[in-house]
Symmetry: C2
Subunit: 380 residues, 2 copies
Amino acid sequence: MADTIAAPATSDRNTVRVDLDTRSYDIKIGRGLIETAGAEIVSVLPGARLCVIADKTVAGLHLDAFSTSLDAAGIVHTVLTVPAGESTKCFREFERLCDDVLATRLERGDAIVALGGGVVGDLAGFVASATRRGMAFVQVPTTLLAQVDSSVGGKTGINSRHGKNLIGAFYQPVLVLADTAVLDTLPIRDFRSGYAEVAKYGLLGDADFFDWLEVNWKAIFAGGPERDEAVARSCQAKADIVAADELEAGQRALLNLGHTFGHALESAVSYETERLVHGEGVSIGTMLAHEFSARLGLIGEDTVMRVHRHLTAVGLPVRLQDIPGQLPGAETFMDIIAQDKKVSRGSLTFILTRGIGHAFVEKGVDPAIVTEFLKEKLEP
Amino acid sequence: MADTIAAPATSDRNTVRVDLDTRSYDIKIGRGLIETAGAEIVSVLPGARLCVIADKTVAGLHLDAFSTSLDAAGIVHTVLTVPAGESTKCFREFERLCDDVLATRLERGDAIVALGGGVVGDLAGFVASATRRGMAFVQVPTTLLAQVDSSVGGKTGINSRHGKNLIGAFYQPVLVLADTAVLDTLPIRDFRSGYAEVAKYGLLGDADFFDWLEVNWKAIFAGGPERDEAVARSCQAKADIVAADELEAGQRALLNLGHTFGHALESAVSYETERLVHGEGVSIGTMLAHEFSARLGLIGEDTVMRVHRHLTAVGLPVRLQDIPGQLPGAETFMDIIAQDKKVSRGSLTFILTRGIGHAFVEKGVDPAIVTEFLKEKLEP
């Protein structure tokens, strides 16, 4: 039905319901939502007091507007700030925030709000899950990556010395407010990084969406209603998968398309974001997943080229050689992949594809073939 | 049906099913279960590797037998020990254990086992909930208190400088093995402390059970089949309440009969176990809850005396004056009660009773009446 596809992005269209039984919640998407956040939160949590957790960078940009909106709605709130950056996702900050939240005397019906990107969302979500064994939690993601990925699905956590996100909880928010206007001030590199996840949703399960992205990506970057549409469709795609497999027992692994290779790349550069940010790793990883699928005879070179064309058009890196500096050898990459928490009982699981929109979970991939493939890619 | 009541405690009768949808699990109760633990665990978690967390005291008494049983069942396992005592439930041990579990390279389908009392169960359960965002968890409680209370219902956690159990998760085990023979070596004071919770189940919702306890308590202390029966009926009582209200939104609060006063007493003596252990606080708190209910005209003095008679018969303390040393004044107690995490939106919630087996949740109790009542009890 063409009229449905062409319908304008209204505020109703841009509410995505995440359907998880008693833990269901809405993701609201639109320009200027931070200015109306107070009213949105009151409607879901009447009478609740809030503790807002923000990183210092985001606080400088958006806290005034957010706080004003809470005041206007009569919401009593306190603010806790954390340093920006991945190293904030640690036990020390977790302990400090739990204690600081308790010091504000919030009760179980009160709420913790994450105002920021993925780091703040993951950390504050874990704090919300653990303090008083679970307080209400609201996400206000301020990066494209957080809006389309980390704020959807309830994964929260911190890093251990053994790896990223190894300590945490599956814990759902009661509300997510994705203000797409805040993305206007996001550095282009961060916007692109988030876009890698947007493209992933098309590639893994929705060929129509990928078609639409090829046509509309410039408007998405420019901030038109297409941006809201892209965020909403991405959230819906993830929400559908999460609703079917909340605890990642099976199909939720599809969301890792491009991530097995991507995580290994991030680890290989020691998470130095000057060299590689998450979405860049996903972009290169997505390319590798398609090239590896082609190597296995699952797709043709035309499909590989089409993905390559789109990712390069938006300015994302697609080759291992696009990463500045030295990379380790194929054997080291395989060690890193084997240590990834998505390893199940020692066998290697990869997300492969039979075509655009047709990714699938392949368990028990032969490590020798992957090693050979990586060797060629590292020394072309 | 008299034949049902009189039926002997067989192994089948002593399995309690905790009915929580996809998180349902069995509690098995009986003498010698530690010797057959390996076979029990394999049947629930085939192929899983284990990380056993035990406190040093329990490890000295029961680890050899437990480990032998795991070896006999072919279960690969490692052991982590923690110091005995409440101070072990802290952020530092939580972090250390999460890291140590990760270092053993356990995967999501593998399991963490708590071998010990409530401290180890609470701490190891929180570690299991958080490591890799949730690993399988098995409880092997070795105190009466842990068997009838803390191992049932999925509450896990650690203490914060702001109070006990303020950081944690609702996280259900996949299996609980309550070996009632290990209670033979439990110090009598600890056995009595656990018994206070057993009596509580009768008092809060099952008058027949309380009748039965009055007749059979000596056999329970001596270790006959009545002990298994008492543990099973206690677990069943708690399981029924937890199944109806897993996240403590309402009726689960009934389990706090005697605990509002009891917790305040433990806090008032700074958790010095030389002066007061948990079950002793519960016993005195249960007495106070009945006396306060009588003061409000809800029950008669005969009921108060009957409860008094049973608790003193088994050797539990029942009066504030039974606690050695000085106690703070009534106002200080009220401050402590107000800080308790079970406070909801500033109003005081107490568990009161209309008779043996008929406890109920009363919200919005007037603090002035409680203060007056406590003053009289402190200075009789």
